[in-house]
Amino acid sequence: MITEEATQAAPAPVRATPEPPRPATRHRAWDEVPRWHVYLPLSVYLVFTLVPFYWIVLFALRPAGSTSLVPWPVTFDHFEKVWTERSFGTYFQNSVLVGLCTLVLTTLVALAGGYALARFDFKVKRGFLLALLCSQFVPGALLLVPLFEIFAKLQLINSLGSVILAETVFQLPLSMILLSNFIKNVPYSLEEAAWVDGCNRLTAFRIVVLPLLRPGLIAVGSFAFVHSWNHFLFALMFLNNQDKQTIPVGLNTLMSADSVDLGALAAGGIIAAVPVVLVFAFIQKWLITGFSAGAVKG
């Protein structure tokens, strides 16, 4: 407002009136798109996103047989039933174990490999990078039979170890590329300075580089956790005992029953969703920066 008055008061006789709108439009065009251009499509999309979530909450909380569109009166019967009768308590423990082990293993192995890729030139580097890229085209689902045979030889069928190994292996290539890009963004001179101060390579890495890798580690770690938490096929194939199975397999069992218990399915779904939603809420703000710093370009 003040600037407008100022420009009008300024001695720019005839052109004064057409002149001021210019900066105004310029400002508006990118920084300030009309509000409804944002809110209208966003609300439409939010309805599409949130109605399914609401639906599952509704089914999980309302009593069986109710057709009310509001979960009232609230009942937790479905949760109790799923947790004990349908062994989701056990599945939950197994899934947490698989998720955490995959997270730790993937992060450690990818960190070592990523560091080598970022800091050294060595003979097989190009070949190794090519192998990482090619592995993206290899469908895990289509390797089920040979993988099953390998795990059978290793006596890992029916053990969570098979699932942890398989999840880790298929997480590794992208994690390694992502982390090596993050490491490249940390100037080598920082490490060299630490060596001069008497640190060895490992200490220098731990003290100087590691803290700067936080966004990358969070991105890679949470991907590993979420993926292995969500993944279904390996657990379905390699784990036969009911007490070894994971949440997605449990959900599938609920779904493929002859008459599906919708309340139990919804409650099971919420149990499946809670950890990933928590992880997601935690990493959400790192996600955008993590991708822009580490992914695709590097």
Binding site: W30, V51, I56, F59, L251
Partner: protein, 311 residues
């Protein structure tokens, strides 16, 4: 002063030497765990799939096992209508899913890239299905599509559609129904990647375009889109491979049905190997699928001139 200090600092050469003293074996040691894991659990299985594809191998019919030459491949191409059906469906599925996900993902990224009140919360909410698994997505949409208690029932209450409609068991509605369910989960992936890439577009470019009198559509066409090109090419490719290979959603949502209407090639392969135990033939199918995938990816990267513009 600083210059003098730098020049006068002799420890530089020994520091160099020390840095390069260890590296000889160090990089190999560092990539060893990853390389071993990938050799054992990706490379070896891939090679054994190639090997089995040349074998008759079916544990339930051991008397037929043995070298098969190209028999399996001949059968794939000449004597297996299911291969062509499922391959066509896979192509349709990937094309529709990736196209729509990119379109909506791009639109969504542009919207949440604006500054508005509640942006953080808005982003978190529209991105949230990204974290949801294929099986959970199926569970949610099974509840929504259920004929007695699902959305159709309430829509019918409002006079839209008819009671008892089950979108997942009708051959004419199952495809769009599955597409919508997968879109729900897939759009955020593109939105997140594109939004991340949007952060690096220089504001100056828009201001310059503004001065030249370019409208918002022109700015999008001439600045935003070229900037996003590499990210779009890469994410569509990764997504297409992923959509082709992924079986979680269709396996649990439709089981490939009704009447094989939604069976993708990987689902067909999984059925052939797991249910029918025909490992030899399934391996041949896998090999063919792998070659198709690799070939299409190469063609796509070549046609889109990936990385050409920015380098």
């Amino acid at each position: 002063m600083a210059q003098a200090a730098a020049v006068a600092k002799p420890p530089a050469p020994p520091r160099r030497r020390r840095a390069s003293a260890t590296p000889r074996r160090l990089p190999y040691l560092l990539i060893a765990p990853a390389a071993l894991l990938m050799l054992g659990f990706i490379a070896y299985p891939v090679v054994s799939v190639f090997y089995y594809s040349l074998q008759h191998y079916n544990p339930t019919k051991p008397w037929r096992n043995g070298y098969a030459g190209l028999d399996n491949f001949v059968r794939v191409f000449t004597d297996d209508p299911q291969f062509w059906d499922t391959l066509t469906f896979s192509a349709k599925w990937v094309f529709v899913e990736v196209g729509l996900q990119l379109l909506f993902g791009l639109a969504l990224a542009l919207i949440v890239n604006q500054t508005f009140v509640g942006r953080g919360l808005g982003r978190a909410m529209v991105f949230s299905p990204w974290a949801v698994s294929g099986v959970l997505t199926s569970a949610i949409w099974v509840l929504l599509y259920n004929s007695q208690t699902g959305l159709t029932r309430y829509l019918a209450d409002l006079g839209i559609g008819s009671y008892g409609t089950s979108w997942l068991s009708d051959t004419s509605t199952v495809f769009p129904a599955a597409v919508v369910a997968d879109l729900w989960r897939g759009v955020p992936f593109f939105a997140i990647l594109i939004l991340a890439d949007l952060q690096s577009v220089s504001k100056d470019l828009y201001e310059a375009a503004e001065v030249d009198g370019a409208g918002r559509l022109q700015q999008f066409w001439h600045i935003t889109l070229p900037h996003l090109k590499d990210a779009i090419v890469l994410s569509t490719l990764l997504r297409a491979v992923w959509e082709f290979n992924n079986v979680d959603l269709l396996y649990t949502l439709t089981g490939g049905g009704p009447a094989g209407e939604t069976t993708t090639l990987p689902l067909y392969i999984a059925n052939t190997s797991v249910d029918a135990h025909n490992f030899g033939y399934a391996s041949a199918l896998t090999t063919v699928a792998f070659v198709i995938l690799l070939f299409c990816s190469m063609v796509y990267l070549r046609l889109s001139k990936f990385g050409g513009a920015s380098k």
